[in-house]
Amino acid sequence: MAERQNEAADADAVLLSRFARGDQAAARALTERLLPGVLRQAWRMLGEREEAEDVAQEAMLKLWRQADDWRAGEARVSTWLYRVTHNLCIDRLRRRRPAADIEAVAELSDPAPSVLARLAGGEETQALARAIGDLPDRQRRALTLRHFEGWGNPEIADRLDCSVEAVESLLARARRTLAARMAAQEKGQGDD
């Protein structure tokens, strides 16, 4: 899986450099490859499609403008775009709740628990969605990228600026925390 992701990252970088040389077909290919993920990420963070579309367009515009100065090998295009999208969403969330500090906003952001809770059908998945929402930020981000985006640990490590071992540890702790919180929720319901 890691090899396939490396190939994809190389292909993105090649396409971006072709776009920088004036190849509009490369822009189309990059849009097809990257826009769905950007939109998905923005939607998960913001919970509203229209706003997510605006963010996705803005993030892609930043990518086009960055093409000339892109230094291949320093970062993956997808990683860079993930950070840009994340920051744009944080800006929007901050505007929604101007009194909130950035940490509080980040806690609510990736993914917005309300989005997952809305999707969860049964009681158990509802409980899971709530438990995911309560996870510490880095655990939640690692878990989201692994289980909802299907990323490999090396790429998650790249995105979260940590080692692969740290990602494994984050995921293990996230699973343990989820298991404990779901059990606590069930017990709470049983007591009621």
């Binding site: 849009t31 769905p36 999707l119 158990e124 298991a179």
Partner: protein
């Protein structure tokens, strides 16, 4: 209270991820068109030659030197030509050399100086 076994948590995560995948928005053609239109605008801004300041008509007729530099060069050449021509017509138009000689003739300190 016992925690959920790992495989149960994983199964629930998979179910939730599946629900999330099926609800994910996909870019509609209008959004794709907006993104591609941005890319085209950025691409054409990059392809356009950089605007020079003060080039105006010299640039249009193929002069690559910006107007102020060309004008200043021309003015400097004309000035040098003018001075040169003037000197050729009357090498010492104000009699500067004569004045110096006359002033020196009355100066005792310069009496023995061979003028």
């Amino acid at each position: 209270m016992t925690d959920r076994p790992d495989h149960e948590v994983d199964a629930l995560l998979a179910a939730l991820a599946e629900a999330e995948r099926s609800a994910r928005p996909l870019p509609d053609p209008a959004l794709t068109a907006r993104v591609l239109s941005d890319a085209a605008a950025v691409g054409s801004a990059r392809a356009a030659p950089p605007r020079r300041r003060w080039t105006g008509w010299p640039a249009r007729i193929g002069l690559l030197v910006p107007l102020p530099a060309a004008a200043m060069t021309a003015a400097a050449v004309l000035l040098l030509l003018g001075v040169g021509l003037g000197y050729q017509i009357e090498p010492d138009p104000v009699g500067l050399a004569d004045g110096l000689i006359l002033a020196g003739a009355d100066d005792p300190a310069l009496a023995d100086f061979p003028l």
